[in-house]
Amino acid sequence: MSGNNPALAAPAAPREKLKPAGFVAIGLWIAVAAAFAFYFVRAFDVTLIERFGWSYLHGLWVTVSLVGVSFVLGAIVSLPVALGRMASNPIAQGLAFAFVYFFRGTPLIAQIFLFYYGFGQFRGFFETIGLWWFFREAWYCGLFSLALNTAAYQAEILRGAIESVPKGQWEGGRSLGLSRQVIFFKVVMPQAMIVALRPYANEIILMIKASAIVAIITVYDLFGETRQAYSRTYDFQTYVWAALLYLALVEALRHATNWAERRLTRHLKR
C-alpha cells in the first residue's frame, strides 16, 4: 500500500486534461467545416467566378475606399467635437454632447435613411444652395452618414486618450516655456495616440462591418455586389464568398494592429 501513497510518489508530469466537451465542440466545428467543404466542392462553379469575380473585387474596393475616406473625414470632424466635450464653455459642451449622443444613440441604418431619403424631400432647398449633386448620390450619402457617425465615436476615443495623459505632462511643457499648441501637438498627442491606437483600429473594424449597410441604399460595395450576385443566381455560395472576404479583411486588420502596437510601444517595455 505504501508504494501507492500519493504523497510519496514522484509528482506526475502535469498532463493536459482532454474532456469530452472539447471533443464535442471541436467535432462540431469540424463537421461544419466538412459540410461547407462538401457543399463548396459540389456547388463550386467556375462560371460564377468568371461572372462575378471582378465585381466582387470592385465591391471590395468600394468598401475599403468608403471606409478609408469616411474614417479620415470623421477624424477631422472629431477633433473639434472632442475639444467641445472637454471645453468649460457650457454651450460648446452641450452641442458636442448632443452630437455624440445623437449619432451613438441611434442606428446607423436609420441615419442613412434619414440623410438619403429624408433629405431628398428638400430637393429644392439643396438645389438653391447647390448641394443637390451631393445628396442625390447614394455613395455620397453613405459617406456623409458614415463620416458623421464615426466622428461621434472617434471624438469619444480622442477625449478618453487625451484625458489619459497625466496633467504633469501639460505642466512640464508649460515650465519649459512651450505654448499650449506646441504642448498639445508635440507632447500630449503623441502619448494619447498610443493609447488610442487600439480603439481606433477597433473603430475601423466596426466601420468595415457597418459599411455593409450602404448596400441597402443601392451602393455597390462588397455587400451590394453580393446581393446582386445572389439575386441573379439564387446561389447561396455568393454570400459565403462575401463572408470569407469580410473575415479576411477584418483579421488582416486585427493582426496588423497587434503588430503596430508591439512596434510603437517597444520603448515602453521593461
Partner: protein
C-alpha cells in the same frame, strides 16, 4: 405643422399606431435576444478559460467568425442559409416545411453576435476577480457550483455591467437591421409610412427620435442596475 401631427397621430389618418407596434416589435426582439446572447456568451467565456485546449479553440473560432462578420451579413446568412438548409432537409426527409421567420432569424443572428462580444466582456470580468475569492469559497467548504453562484457571479455582474450595457445598446440599434428582411419594427413602419405619405424626413426623423428615447430609457435602467449592484459599497 398640423399636417405632420395628423400624420403622426393615432387612428386611420395617422401612422402613430403603426409606429407604436414597431416600438413593441423592436423592444420584444431585443429582450428576446438578450437571454440567448448572455447565456451563450457566458458559456463561451467558461470555455475560453478552460484547460481543455480543444474547447478553448472552438470558442475562439466562434468569436473570430461572429465578431468579424458584418451583422447584416450574419443576418442574411442565417435567413437565407438556414432556411435553404431547412428546405433541402425537409425535401430530403419528406418532413413538413419549416422556415425561420424574420423575427427568429433576427433573434439567432443578433444572439450569436451578442454572444461573441459578451464572451469577451465576461472573460475580462472573470480575470478581474482575484483567485483568492474562489479559494476562499473552497476553504469554506462550498462546492464548485456554489462558489460560482454565491461568490463569483455577484462580483462578475458588477464588473461586467458597463460592458454588457454597451452591448445592450448595440443590440437595440442592430435590431433596426432586421427590418431589411421584412420585420415590422420601428424602421420598417417608418419606411412604409414614408413611402405612402411621401414625408420621408418626418418619419425617419420620428424613427430616430423613438430610438433615442429607447436608448435614453436603457441608460437610465442600466444606471439603476449599476447602483443596485454597488449597494454593498461604501456610499461616497
Amino acid at each position: 405643422m398640423n399636417e405632420s401631427l395628423t400624420l403622426l397621430g393615432f387612428g386611420s389618418t395617422g401612422w402613430g399606431d403603426d409606429l407604436a407596434t414597431g416600438v413593441v416589435v423592436t423592444v420584444t426582439l431585443s429582450l428576446a435576444t438578450l437571454p440567448i446572447g448572455l447565456g451563450l456568451g457566458f458559456l463561451l467565456s467558461l470555455a475560453k478559460q478552460s484547460e481543455d485546449r480543444l474547447l478553448k479553440l472552438s470558442a475562439d473560432i466562434f468569436t473570430t467568425i461572429f465578431r468579424g462578420l458584418p451583422e447584416l451579413l450574419t443576418l442574411f446568412l442565417v435567413y437565407f442559409g438556414v432556411n435553404a438548409a431547412l428546405k433541402s432537409l425537409s425535401t430530403a426527409t419528406g418532413l413538413p416545411d419549416i422556415a425561420l421567420s424574420s423575427f427568429v432569424s433576427g433573434m439567432v443572428a443578433l444572439g450569436v453576435v451578442f454572444a461573441a462580444f459578451s464572451s469577451e466582456v465576461f472573460l475580462s470580468a472573470f480575470r478581474a476577480i482575484p483567485h483568492g475569492q474562489r479559494e476562499g469559497g473552497m476553504a469554506l467548504g462550498l462546492g464548485r457550483a456554489k462558489v460560482m453562484v454565491l461568490v463569483i457571479l455577484p462580483q462578475l455582474i458588477k464588473i461586467a455591467l458597463p460592458g454588457l450595457g454597451n452591448l445592450w445598446m448595440n443590440l437595440l440599434k442592430d435590431t433596426a437591421l432586421v427590418s431589411v428582411i421584412g420585420l415590422a419594427d420601428i424602421l420598417r413602419q417608418a419606411q412604409v409610412a414614408a413611402r405612402v405619405s411621401r414625408e420621408p424626413f418626418l418619419f425617419f426623423g420620428t424613427a430616430i427620435a423613438l430610438y433615442l428615447v429607447l436608448t435614453i430609457l436603457s441608460s437610465i435602467a442600466i444606471g439603476g442596475i449599476d447602483r443596485w449592484t454597488k449597494r454593498g459599497e461604501v456610499a461616497k
